[in-house]
Amino acid sequence: MPLRRLHLVVDDDLGPALWAREQTGPGRSRALESLTTLRGEAPGLLGTALEDAPDLLRHRVRIPGRDGDRRVPALPLEGAALTSFVGAVGELLAERFGEELHEHLASLLADGAAARLSDELIAMPDLVVAVVLDLRARSLVEERHLRARAVERYGRPVMQWRAPAQDSPPLLHALVDGHARQAFAAHLRTIPAPAEDRHGVLWALADEGELRADLPTQRRITAAMDAFVDSGRPGVKLSSGDSELVVRLFEPPLGTAWPLQTCLREPDGTVHPVADLRAVGDLTTAGAAEASAAVMRLAPTVRGAAVDETGVDWLLTTAEASEFLSRDTPSLEEAGVTVLLPREWTKQKTTLRPQEVDEEPGERKGSGVGLGAMVSFRWRVAVGETELTEEEMEEIRAAQSELVQLRGQWVRLDASTLRAAERFLDAFGARTRAERTGTAPPRPARTAPPAEQPPPVPEPAEVAGRAPWMEMFSLILSPEAADVDFGLAALIAGGSNGLARLLPGAQGPQPYPQPRSLQATLRPYQLEGVDWMWALHRQGLGGILADDMGLGKTMQVLALLCREREGVYGQEAPETIGPTLLVCPMSVVGAWQREAAKFAPDLRVHVHHGGDRLRGESFVAGTQDADLVITTYSLLARDLPVLSAVPWHRLVLDEAQHVKTPGTQVTRAARALQAPHRLALTGTPVENRLADLHALMEVVNPGLLGSAASFQERVATPIEEEGDGGAISRLRLITAPFIQRRLKTDRSIIKDLPEKIELTRVVNLTPEQAGLYEAIVQDLMVQIDGAEKKTRRTLVVSAITRLKQVCNHPAHYLGDGSPLVRDGEHRSGKLEMVDDLLGAAFEKGQKALLFTQFTTFGQLLVPYWQERFADLGVTSVPFLHGGVSKRDRDQMVAEFQEDRDRPGLMLLSLRAGGTGLTLTAANHVVHLDRWWNPAVENQATDRAFRIGQRRDVSVNKLVSAGTVEEKIDTVLDDKQALADLTVGPGEDWLASLDDDRLLSLLSLDEEDGL
């Protein structure tokens, strides 16, 4: 029997094919034309593998030989035929080598050697390679490490399995295809056939099943399979399509060019340059090119810029970088591309710094007093912390670019702010005959020459001039000052005289000791408040004392009255001082009376209140003997004629928000009363709008802030609508001397008040709640479709109320008297959370306040809690709401305050419980539902968090997840930020939202909701 050599080749057209040659003599051989003898004489396994093959080899494959290519008869093998043939060869080798099969194969492979299968049969190196590849193909298929693609073969669409790496040897792909087909067919047999296989993919993957797909569909199938397989790789999977595009600008290294980099942001927030991603293979060249192309599409400046060696990043000139910042950045950001700038590179503004401000001592009579006093201002122009010299300002003007280099640092400058500052200085110069200098004027005497030579600082440009305060203030509020940012931090000199002492950064009011006749020790900040009111009083100016509730505004006013009757060093008290008229809400008349009697027993107090109050002449006469006359807002308007007959020394308006609405009788009356000194007291200076601040200021310092209309246009609107920092700085500069506001949260103010821990608790809705909630939203969206504006508003507001009720409790919304807890299961996420909070507090013997805006809800809760917490000693739950008489109210409060170390619970309706109460026995505050007005909520919270509280107070605000409550809470946070700036926006925005935004605000976010 002749020696036969078996080859396995991969032909371009046929794919894998077997051919064999038979030795015909020494050094001579011929290619087999037929398989018959081979099949018959080959070892059993091999024979079986070739059983189904035709006898005659009809195909020809091209074989490179010594004398050029030749064509030899061959048997194309694919699918199972291929795998069983190669498998059979592998088996024979395994039989021969046994345990050491792998070592032998490796060495055969390394040598490129042939292997003997039997005495007469040799597997040539290409077949040995096939055996190795077959082992690999098997393990790939076992691990399912496979790709699949749709292709046309002989004009027919088919599916092909592939090894995972595109550039694997074709034979490996073919072997993988063969094994995977069998495995997939077996898989299909084990599971029920799917209802629909629109392209016939499954059977095309398993056997010769027909793929029903035209060419574009074939491409889509392949792409889908690739995406599917690639999704099995964990970690970074970036494509320019679904990652966020980021452009990053760097400062130029050593005065060269500005590198601009195309980057992608992963979902976890990390930013990678596309050039790096491409280098490590996380991004294809096409993906990187696409990302870079997207930047060029959106940023015209970049298109013409020099490209660096990566081909996806650029090197910008300073002019281009500046152009990029001003022109391209907005469109990039609008298209959702993040632009990252060097460091904290916000756009710098030019600020105008009042370098030295002082009132001129001199004539203190007539028009020279108060706002009529002359004041000198000296200004400097600064960018960030750098005060500019004349030359630098000139350079910036000349640069006409957003990027300027100041003292070696690149600065991104909003050039319009420099122009605004200069425009203001021109106007200032025209009104004050100012002088402009580039050199420093003589500085206020320094005590000692500096010990060592400081580094030379360029002398900043300055403009100085003088005018009366009123003129200065009106200039600052004039259109000339629009867009000017006043830097307030750095008043270095002056601030030692008159009103100038009260400017931010100045020396502050002249300090005096606390009045002897006051029967209490003032806290330092209270004494400072008295000094401040005293200083304003001396200038004949009014003020707004806007300290947080609980900081003792009453005490400060009483101390002021004591002081002016005692006199201070250098200022003897006059013989007689007229009475001070104090106007307050009825509810606090008693408190004023008691505090005056307790702390300032020397003051003669008269209460003008009640049916038996003095009228006419007897009132006027009676007030002559009084130091403090207390009346109420309702009487202020009604008794104005008789009140006007008294020459008041001072007018004090407590809870001054009562006079914030211009045009009301009360406000008109307050403005009409004559008094040389006016004070407004309020815990919330501007509860809703800056217009309120203007209104209050009109009462205490008429005309200071200009007309309501011009104030609204030049200050309020820019701040409220655009958060205009310049407008805020102008407002601060003017109002700072006249407003005193200390916050309870400021630890430097009160060191002995414990912590307040505020938590917003997000609770989940129960399925019952979620169902009701969604029904309401759907109902609303149907109803408002096409509804008129007014109807729409009503619908929206009432729907929001119903949604809040659902968030509270289904029984609250349904009003059907169903039990709050059903079969031990909570029906409301909120109630469950509250029960836990309360339980924990009661265990520790602590008390809690609960606020709700729904009286009906409160009435459901009272009996429920009385029963639930009886074990813990809470048998009665007082409910303080608008319908409770004053006597009962006082009774409730007194009882609640009584025993501090026993558990207790009080329920309050938000409005009724908002003011005037001290409930410091409680150290837990829960807001069951949200009022969406931080000022009101904080007032409520402060019932417990005020002086007298000895424990840390925890405040829990409950918000239902995924609901309008949570979404508005986000808005609330922003509003809180505004309120801290003494600003608050209106609330009308909810009903005026368009349908889409309204829907997105109201609708339930499912994944959070349940």
Binding site: H7, A114, D197
Partner: protein
């Protein structure tokens, strides 16, 4: 499903490269086919366009209601031309981004001209066509319509010119040094006595290193595959069957 042309009137194609392709091809078509092809293309007769190396094709709906498959062939670069092109292209790292962004810089063609290479058809004879309709030898109106669809596609995506020439954006970036040196590189060079007639199957027979670096690095796990990637094209049920196959590997 048919392709809508952006151009409603006048010449089709705006970018210089699209114009050049169109002009070259219009000479092939002849005047009478030009008008017919344009109006058929604008009428959305071309159902789809597929571009691969050397070949652009699409199904075109005839007035008789039949679909005919038209083909335009532009030979892929042969080795020498390919090298010449890549040499010019790789000297311009920004080229991939430019082409992805829809422009094909004309300077490139100028540089290529020195080696007598062009990404575009050098002349009408470099293009050939075929169609399954009976209008033989053509060019038929189906080919003409296909051409205008191709021109507009190339106008927007000059990358398709690369595809026709057998190139990809990947090729335009100079090959980077291998991220990890092939582990089993010793087994890589077959070389041996029988090499001469051992045909081509020996090359690359060593295993591990043929995986792309990405696949070698991340631990690919079939259980992580996401059937949603398949569902859109294949349907939920089929996607589930395939996903099940992947997520239950034999151990």
């Amino acid at each position: 499903m048919s392709i809508e042309l952006i151009s409603r009137r006048g010449p089709i194609g705006k970018g210089w490269h699209a114009v050049a392709l169109r002009d070259g091809a219009e000479r092939l078509l002849g005047a009478s086919r030009v008008g017919r092809g344009k109006s058929d293309a604008r009428a959305g007769k071309v159902q789809w366009l597929d571009v691969e190396a050397g070949l652009a094709r699409g199904d075109v709906l005839d007035a008789d209601g039949e679909l005919y498959q038209a083909r335009l062939e532009l030979p892929a670069f042969r080795e020498g031309d390919r090298e010449a092109f890549l040499q010019v292209a790789r000297a311009r790292p920004e080229l991939p981004a430019r082409m992805a962004g829809g422009t094909y810089p004309q300077e490139i063609e100028a540089e290529l001209a020195r080696s007598e290479v062009s990404l575009l058809p050098r002349d009408a004879t470099e293009l050939s066509h075929d169609c399954s309709c009976l209008d033989w030898p053509g060019p038929c109106r189906h080919v003409a319509a296909l051409l205008y669809v191709l021109v507009e596609a190339v106008d927007e995506q000059p990358v398709l010119l690369l595809t026709l020439r057998g190139l990809a954006l990947e090729d335009l970036v100079s090959p980077r040094e291998p991220a990890t040196p092939p582990a089993g590189s010793g087994a890589d060079g077959p070389g041996g006595a029988d090499r001469a007639d051992g045909a081509d199957s020996a090359e690359g027979a060593g295993d591990g290193e043929s995986l792309p670096p990405a696949a070698a690095r991340g631990a690919w796990d079939p259980a992580h595959t996401d059937p949603a990637k398949l569902a859109e094209v294949l349907g939920e049920d089929v996607a589930a069957v395939i996903h099940r196959f992947y997520s239950h590997p034999l151990q």
